[in-house]
């Protein structure tokens, strides 16, 4: 443990405040958007990242000074903000809030991948053009960049405050946030105000991105996701939608993180964010200071299930498809094709699990990959450390995933709609962070290697075709199990809960118990898929089951139709197999996923086969 002198303490304080300033900038933008549109804008992190890249291009390629750079960044980000409002929100205005939330996730996928395609996924060096001299101020060393960050953040916050307090547009913005329909009746063009809000938020985010790029002297495409979550954690801490709260929350988060890292080490950096995110959501959803402001009311249904008549897949098609799947290794012995479809079956199990939890039971889960991770690690460790036979470790891994995952999700059961989405995302990340940091058990970043291969009754299964059949068999068993559940009273109760929690409770349904049952059943299936993956690859680390996997699974479910089991399988095949079959597209895979998600939410929310 590092030794704390007064000097290092003061330096940490400065570091924490500088980082906190930038978190505050991000959080203010999210707060404005949440206030006006009641939306958690998942694309906000991408704006911040793109702002950083624009700044990097201006400074390192064009050699511009910082003044014009900030102006260009502001203009570019404002335009991007307006575009996001147009694509992600405007047409979905009247839908349940989860729809634009998913749309902004789609946009963020697409933007991140675009930047990766243009500038490569590698970090780019972003040296600060400012002099490196540091001034000692009462025993604290302050650099030029620290001072600049402080000045810019304080100026931005002051300008925003003046705008909201003293200008006509600022009043219109606040009025729209407080009562959209009443603002309309005062003659406020609320759509224009909404676009303006996105523009202002994007400018703040983009400027924050440039500054953090200089602060850490690098920019990289994946910086977006973490920033968005940090901004949101800061926002929650200070009270959702509150601008002063966002500032305080940002500074607090910066300090907590800096001191936490100094105490525990840098791999813990993100853990604080997620623990705060979940802790505040569950324990004090109005934030530390928000006594007055309650959470905006959420619709009674936790998920957006469009009214549609599901396509009834005739039994002979299902059986025919199954026979074709079984016979595939005889038709084509191309190992590459078989691997793709093995992957598709494993993803289909994830999709089944999500369609159960999200589609049928109405709990929008963005952290389902956490179940994969627990299943994978549990089964691998049981086989490696305790020498359990594979059949047993697979099942035990799935059971542990179901139990542990559900236990971790339990606090979320009291939340609704987009808060469930946010909290489950956080839980997925917490699982990831625990895996990363519990080195004694999980080997940390190095991951687990030499995991025993798949086997059945002692016979190793290492050929492509048997692995394919094994995966297919597991999928079929899982699907039959889930189908049986759906036919039972459980399926009916879950759907009732999804449609209207209050009504379901009024009929004596114990919501927590049924939510838990959905997560247990879904978690078991996902855990099985994760366990299988671990043994199939013989190597896993904390990134094998990243958060993007959860969202990919959800996209599959929406593509197929929420709650629709055949839809989940079709969605999984479409989104794993198609980008592989069209090889040139494989690099742009997440761009495709993002666009598919955006288009689905906008034009076909019931998916291909319709919701059940």
């Amino acid at each position: 443990m590092p030794e704390f002198t007064l000097r290092t303490l003061a330096d940490q304080l400065v570091n924490g405040l500088v980082i906190g300033n930038i978190y505050a900038l991000i959080a203010i933008g999210l707060a404005l958007i949440f206030g006006v549109a009641n939306l958690i804008n998942f694309a906000h992190g991408s704006v911040y990242m793109i702002g950083a890249y624009v700044g990097w291009v201006c400074v390192t390629w064009l050699g511009w000074p910082l003044g014009p750079t900030f102006i260009v960044v502001a203009v570019a980000c404002a335009a991007l903000g307006v575009l996001i409002e147009r694509l992600g929100l405007r047409r979905l205005q009247s839908e349940a809030r989860i729809a634009p939330l998913l749309a902004t996730i789609g946009i963020s996928f697409a933007l991140d991948q675009l930047v990766q395609l243009i500038f490569s996924p590698n970090p780019q060096s972003f040296p600060s053009p400012l002099p490196a001299t540091r001034v000692m101020l009462g025993g604290v060393s302050i650099g030029a960049l620290d001072a600049l960050i402080a000045v810019i953040t304080v100026t931005s916050a002051a300008m925003l405050f003046a705008f909201l307090r003293f200008t006509r547009l600022g009043w219109a913005l606040r009025a729209t946030a407080q009562d959209r329909e009443a603002a309309q009746q005062m003659g406020v063009d609320v759509n224009a105000i909404q676009a303006l809000t996105f523009a202002v938020a994007a400018v703040l985010g983009g400027i924050g991105g440039v500054m953090i790029g200089m602060y850490f002297t690098s920019v990289y495409p994946t910086m977006s996701y973490g920033a968005m979550l940090k901004g949101f954690a800061a926002n929650l801490l200070g009270g959702l939608g509150s601008v002063p709260g966002a500032v305080i929350g940002g500074l607090l988060l910066g300090l907590i993180e800096t001191f936490g890292v100094a105490l525990l080490g840098s791999t813990y950096r993100n853990l604080f964010t997620f623990v705060i995110l979940i802790g505040v959501l569950v324990l004090r959803p109005t934030g530390l200071f928000g006594a007055r402001r309650a959470m905006p009311p959420e619709p009674l249904t936790g998920t957006f299930v469009a009214n549609s008549r599901p396509v009834r897949v005739p039994r002979f098609v299902v059986i025919g498809g199954l026979v074709a799947a079984v016979l595939l290794p005889f038709i084509s012995s191309n190992p590459y094709l078989l691997q793709i479809f093995t992957n598709a079956w494993l993803f289909a199990m994830l999709a089944l699990s999500i369609t159960l939890v999200t589609g049928t039971a109405g709990q929008m889960s963005l952290g389902q990959a956490g179940f994969l991770a627990i299943g994978g690690y549990a089964s691998a460790l049981l086989a490696m450390r305790l020498g359990w036979p594979l059949e047993l470790s697979l099942l035990a891994g799935a059971a542990i995933a179901a139990a542990l995952g559900t236990l971790l999700t339990w606090p979320v059961f009291r939340l609704r709609s987009q808060y469930v989405a946010l909290a489950t995302l956080g839980i997925g990340e917490v699982i990831n962070q625990i895996i990363l940091n519990w080195e004694g058990l999980t080997n940390g970043v190095l991951g687990l290697s030499n995991i025993p291969p798949l086997s059945l009754f002692g016979l190793p299964i290492i050929e492509t075709s048997p692995i394919y059949w094994f995966a297919l068999a597991m999928l079929v068993v899982a699907a039959l199990f889930q189908w049986r559940l759906m036919q039972s009273h459980l399926g009916r109760t879950w759907r009732a809960m999804r449609e209207d929690e209050v009504a379901a409770r009024a009929f004596g349904v114990s919501l927590n118990r049924y939510k838990a049952l959905a997560f247990i059943a879904g978690g078991f299936i996902a855990g099985l898929s994760g366990a299988f993956t671990a043994h199939m690859y013989s190597y896993i680390n904390n990134e094998t089951f990243a958060a993007t996997t959860s969202i990919l699974g959800l996209t599959m479910v929406i593509l197929g139709g929420m709650g629709n089991m055949s839809g989940a399988v079709v969605g999984a095949i479409a989104l794993t197999a198609l980008p592989e079959l069209f090889r040139p597209l494989a690099d742009a895979r997440y761009l495709i996923y993002g666009v598919v998600l955006l288009l689905l939410v906008r034009f076909r929310p019931q998916g291909l086969l319709g919701t059940v």
Partner: protein
């Protein structure tokens, strides 16, 4: 049934009469739906310049939706809304407001986190004549001294009656030709109910036409010139307020009995 009723004879109102269109507001054959549920079945009504017209009806009769149709918040599937002789059916709400319609929404809908001052000035959001706005603002504070005492407080902490005053003052700040009020007396103490009714009459005498939706027929008919009774999306009765007042047909309409 649909013959235009003579406008009231207040001098102020008559002074405002000469204009191109016979009616200030006219709804023609309005049919509204919420999904598959039909709310209005060919609604016809009109408001003359200078009148106070009230739309009466029980729960779920389609009263509030009528208000939303006028304000452009709900678009009818058939029929049209004319204001000052011009169709406004397809205009977005802010444009309709700019034409000279102000709204006192149901349950007031003041901006709770903004100060009383900011609320009042939001009422003049659509206006560009800053000097005049300033004058109207001063006038409004003279008329509502209660609001002056609370100018810098959050509007959310005002009492229900004060909020109603604020909502009406806010609507007047736009200098409307027509003011639409949705249940202005709802949830108020009897004392405040009287004050609100007095105020509506006062506003009207100053030349503002009033269209109000009310559940409390006896109260509304005391100050209105004419009234319509809406039942299940049909106008079942219309006429001069004094004829409707105490009429057994109005009572029947409310109780859902056969009005004829």
């Amino acid at each position: 049934m649909n013959a235009p009723v003579a406008p009231p004879s207040t001098p102020m109102a008559q002074a405002m009469l000469p204009a191109s269109a016979p009616f200030l507001l006219q709804l023609e054959g309005i049919q509204t739906f919420y999904g598959v549920l039909q709310v209005h079945f060919g609604l016809n009504l009109h408001v003359c310049r200078g009148e106070i017209v009230c739309l009466l009806g029980g729960n779920a009769s389609g009263k509030s939706t009528t208000m939303k149709v006028i304000l452009g918040l709900v678009k009818p599937r058939a029929g049209r809304v004319l204001f000052d002789g011009q169709p406004i059916t397809d205009l977005p709400t802010p444009q309709i407001i700019r034409r000279g319609i102000a709204s006192v929404p149901e349950s007031r809908r003041i901006f709770p986190e903004m100060t009383v001052r900011e609320n009042l000035l939001m009422g003049a959001y659509a206006r560009a004549d800053r000097e005049e706005v300033r004058r109207d603002y001063e006038q409004m504070l003279e008329r509502f001294p209660r609001l002056r005492q609370r100018l810098d407080q959050r509007a959310g902490v005002l009492s229900g009656g004060e909020q109603q005053m604020l909502a009406m003052a806010r609507a007047l700040m736009s200098r409307p030709k027509l003011i639409c009020m949705d249940e202005p007396t709802m949830g108020l103490s009897p004392l405040f109910v009287d004050r609100v009714l007095d105020l509506i009459q006062h506003i009207n005498q100053q030349g503002v036409t009033v269209f109000m939706v009310e559940q409390n027929a006896n109260l509304a008919l005391q100050i209105a010139h004419r009234g319509y009774v809406l039942q299940n999306g049909h106008i079942v009765l219309e006429g001069a307020a004094r004829d409707l007042l105490g009429s057994s047909e109005v009572r029947d309409a409310y109780l859902g009995g056969d009005a004829r």
